[in-house]
């Protein structure tokens, strides 16, 4: 069964969605990601959806759910690289994903994660 790879990068998890998302794949990702967060005790999740061209309300809700679940597991979620058309679609669907943090690209997304986890740096420094 096909899965979306989840890469571990230190304290963070990287998910790059490079195939068309269908509902089962989305649910699988939700399961895998929550498992992985607790397994690696990750502090942040970065989801790159720059290649995702079609997003429906289910996928939108899944993104919001993942962010909410990650927060319960003490991890911040940043969604990066959303395309204009996708952003417009989500807004028209009435989904503002208010609980999800966003960034323009992976670079700014990682910056944001480090910023959010500033406490981690001070712990390491001190």
């Amino acid at each position: 069964m096909e899965r979306i790879p989840i890469l571990r990068m230190g304290q963070f998890l990287l998910v790059t969605i490079q195939v068309d998302m269908h509902d089962r794949l989305a649910l699988q990702l939700q399961d895998d990601l929550t498992e992985k967060i607790s397994e690696c005790s990750s502090r942040g999740v970065l989801i790159d959806i720059s290649t995702l061209e079609i997003v429906d309300s289910f996928i939108g809700r899944m993104l919001a759910n993942i962010a909410a679940m990650a927060r319960v597991l003490d991890a911040e979620t940043v969604v990066v690289g959303m395309q204009p058309a996708v952003a417009i679609t989500l807004v028209e669907l009435g989904m503002s994903l208010s609980g999800v943090r966003t960034a323009l690209n992976v670079e700014t997304g990682m910056e944001l994660l480090y910023e959010l986890r500033g406490d981690f740096h001070s712990e390491m420094g001190g």
């Binding site: 990066v80 395309q83 996708v86 952003a87 417009i88 503002s96 966003t102 690209n105």
Partner: protein
């Protein structure tokens, strides 16, 4: 809406300023569209600042019951620009001297 979002991607912008000084009236449709654009920009990772809201427009917005609670609004375009610079960690300083070449400004990135 599309053109703003495309520009955000092309220029890698983190802040977008929407100046509506030249807009004489705002109805529900316009306000709704503005809110949609701001939300879409946020989804892409860019913050929007609205500037140049006229007193009448402010009254209209409140009377229409439009919620701009999550939106940053500034009185003037210059205020919005100052906030955008502050957010990106940049300051505008005046360069002294310059033998009467008038006021010059310099953009400098803070370390």
């Amino acid at each position: 809406m599309e053109s703003l979002l495309q520009a955000v991607v092309q220029t890698n912008s983190r802040v977008a300023i929407i100046d509506i000084t030249g807009v004489p009236t705002v109805d529900t449709l316009v306000a709704q569209h503005l809110l949609k654009t701001i939300t879409a920009a946020r989804l892409m990772g860019a913050d929007c600042i609205i500037s140049g809201v006229r007193p009448q427009i402010a009254q209209t917005i409140v009377h229409l019951g439009i919620d701009l609670a999550g939106v940053i609004t500034k009185a003037k375009l210059s205020d919005a620009f100052a906030l955008a610079l502050q957010r990106s960690g940049q300051v505008v300083t005046k360069v002294n001297g310059g033998n009467g070449a008038g006021k010059r400004t310099l953009l400098r990135r803070e370390e």
